[in-house]
């Protein structure tokens, strides 16, 4: 089972460049999330989506955009990369109901902005 797949795994950007981090899941989960992980800071929620066509801001949305045109895909876009966006980005998904609530994570995308 593929689960949650993120690409690319590593990327170096120059200040002001733009890029899209791809995320796709094959578990038919409605809810999808983008987190960033910085040393000593844990994970911070950037954006989330509860279904196709619906997105909402998380705790740290500035400088990012998302879209959710299908259930499977939830890309994260950086329009004007800044050094403060150097981080490891994790995509996650889950489906509510029952007593699960467990997030399934992708393997992460390490982004460096120079």
């Amino acid at each position: 089972n593929a689960g949650v797949t993120q690409t690319p795994k590593f990327r170096i950007l120059k200040i002001g460049q733009s890029m899209t981090l791809q995320c796709t899941q094959d578990m038919n989960h409605n809810y999808m999330y983008w987190y960033r992980q910085d040393p000593g800071m844990g994970l911070k929620l950037i954006y989330y989506s509860v279904g196709a066509g619906i997105t909402d801001k998380g705790e740290v949305p500035n400088g990012y955009n998302v879209s959710r045109s299908t259930t499977e895909d939830f890309p994260l876009r950086l329009e004007l990369a800044a050094p403060s966006q150097t981080s490891v980005y994790f995509c996650a998904s889950f489906t509510p109901g029952g007593n699960t609530g467990e997030l399934f994570f992708g393997e992460g995308s390490r982004l460096t902005v120079l």
Binding site: G40, G42, E102
Partner: protein
């Protein structure tokens, strides 16, 4: 607003020592609590979770956690750690539409 705090940011133990990592939560409503582990260079994996019922929850790899409502705590324990337990451990709460709120993590190093 919900919050999750972890007491120790760095813990160093010798193999076979007992482990307890602290986690406190602060939010109302339904309490869903999780512990995730992140091995070096890998993504987060679920260790265990608590939703309701028995406050002592057993997870994978010999880990367990106890939900103590009166103390707003959900501490992670393991009676005897191994070198392979070296990792970062995250406590998290929530599980609704807006996902989980994570603590800042505890970096655990097990010395052989």
């Amino acid at each position: 607003a919900q919050s999750v705090s972890q007491h120790n940011h760095h813990v160093i133990l010798s193999e076979a020592a007992s482990l307890e990592l602290g986690c406190n939560y602060s939010y109302g409503g339904t309490v869903n609590l999780f512990w995730y582990v992140q091995y070096p260079g890998q993504h987060l994996q679920l260790l265990l979770k608590y939703f309701s019922g028995d406050p002592l929850v057993k997870g994978i790899k010999g880990f367990e956690a106890e939900f103590i409502k009166s103390k707003f705590s959900f501490n992670l324990r393991k009676p005897s750690v191994q070198w392979s337990d070296t990792a970062e451990y995250f406590c998290a709460g929530g599980g609704g539409a807006d996902g989980l709120t994570f603590g800042k993590g505890t970096h655990l190093i097990i010395q052989p």
